[in-house]
């Protein structure tokens, strides 16, 4: 348990630092940035207390907001996907989730893609809606959501594959 706690603390700090120092400065094609810090929310243990989980997600978003000067948009998006994560888990993993036996290291690849995609797209849509905050620019919101989501999903899959490999040793 202690080991698990330290892994998640390290992951929390490392993902925030990577996000603010590296991934927010990519600006691919001028404006496309990935937000792979959401990986922390995806990989949080399923069995844990939901209240604690939502609170930690909020703190994660708030730290990102503090570094990126973005008000509360990351906090809002992070807390929302933390809240709806059980639904997404149920949708993508089905029966495995009902038995409370989801291990992210050994789930089917297709299921993992579905799970990450659903939450990423919802996260990014809320993020850009709040950032742009203008209903008449809904096309810009959708465009940003689409491009950044693709970028984030690919990065999240890569990172999770790389690190799940090393954990199996």
């Amino acid at each position: 348990m202690n080991n698990l706690l330290s892994i998640h603390t390290v992951r929390f700090v490392v993902l925030i630092l990577l996000q603010v120092l590296l991934f927010s400065n990519i600006n691919f094609m001028g404006y496309i940035n990935p937000y792979p810090y959401v990986l922390f929310i995806f990989l949080f243990p399923v069995k844990n207390n939901r209240m604690v989980f939502i609170l930690i997600s909020f703190l994660l978003g708030l730290f990102i907001d503090m570094f990126l000067d973005s008000g509360g948009i990351h906090a809002a998006a992070a807390v929302t996907i933390a809240f709806i994560r059980p639904a997404a888990l149920k949708f993508s993993f089905g029966a495995v989730y009902d038995h409370q036996a989801v291990k992210f290291n050994n789930v089917d690849f297709g299921q993992r893609v579905t799970y990450i995609s659903i939450l990423t797209i919802i996260h990014h849509f809320i993020l850009f809606s709040l950032e742009i905050f203008n209903f008449s620019k809904i096309l810009l919101v959708l465009q940003n959501t689409l491009f950044s989501s693709i970028f984030t999903i690919i990065l999240c899959l890569l990172i999770s594959i790389i690190f799940s490999g090393s954990n199996k040793k």
Binding site: Y31, I54, F58, M66
Partner: protein
């Protein structure tokens, strides 16, 4: 009473979620209104420290370009200095003219963003260098933005690439003025509105700051007109300006303090 407690206990997850979402939306709305108090900003001990550390490394990457920019500016200043000297009567010393209206402070940009709709820069000077809110920020090529928040060692700048800010600007050749806004699309272009129809607007004209606000002095370059059209009511021009500054590549900036700002504000308040 017990039913209320039961209700809260049953829905505690949802209530916590709703509370946290509410807090973050409030913070978001605050960040969209100009100059409201912000609790979450990067001018604090923690994030300022992290950015300072990362900047000591990344400084070296742009060193060559920044040196060239500084040399170019030195060149311009030298030419002004040596050309002006001829006209000064050396026997006349104006001992009364001790008061400067503007005080300049150099600073470096530690974090720059240009891909969002509200872009904010982080500088390495703060309250310890007597930097306060509403000071102007310019680079050697032109206008950058306005200081928003400060802590001991860092300050955040509301960039001109920001949909909430508006800065007064005018045509260089006449005194018709309007306000600069950004539509959030391209970091190289900014929009100038409220220039009256009577003004002689032409492609390629230079736009400078108007000096009507107490933040920027007059005649700081902004950009050149790349496109213009009349608005729907056909009373004012909507002008597209391409900026002199490359907002994606800024390192050395100057912070301008207008020492008369307080008196000007006092005077204006009395008249209202």
């Amino acid at each position: 009473m017990q039913q209320i407690v039961n209700f809260i206990l049953r829905n505690k997850t949802f209530l916590l979620f709703a509370l946290l979402l509410f807090i973050s939306v409030i913070l978001t709305i605050q960040s969209h209104s100009y100059h409201r108090s912000r609790f979450i900003n990067s001018a604090n001990f923690l994030s300022g420290g992290v950015y300072n550390t990362s900047n000591t490394v990344s400084d070296y990457f742009g060193l060559k370009e920044q040196n060239e920019l500084l040399q170019e500016e030195n060149n311009i200043l030298k030419s002004i200095l040596f050309n002006a000297e001829k006209n000064i009567d050396s026997s006349f010393i104006d001992s009364l003219n001790f008061k400067n209206h503007y005080k300049f402070t150099t600073a470096r940009v530690h974090r720059n963003s240009y891909s969002k709709t509200n872009n904010i820069l982080l500088l390495n000077k703060g309250k310890n260098d007597s930097i306060k809110q509403d000071f102007g920020v310019v680079s050697s090529k032109g206008i950058i933005g306005i200081i928003e928040k400060t802590n001991a060692n860092n300050a955040t700048v509301l960039s001109i690439l920001n949909t909430t800010s508006s800065i007064s600007a005018q045509l260089k050749k006449t005194n018709h003025f309007g306000s600069l806004k950004w539509d959030g699309l391209s970091p190289n272009n900014i929009q100038l509105s409220e220039i009256p129809k009577i003004a002689p607007v032409a492609l390629g004209d230079t736009i400078v700051t108007s000096g009507r606000s107490s933040i920027f002095p007059k005649d700081i370059p902004v950009g050149i007109i790349s496109n213009f059209k009349l608005d729907t009511a056909e009373n004012y021009y909507e002008i597209e300006i391409s900026l002199f500054n490359d907002m994606t590549n800024i390192e050395h900036v100057y912070i301008i303090e207008n020492k008369d700002a307080k008196h000007i504000k006092n005077l204006l308040d009395k008249n209202e």
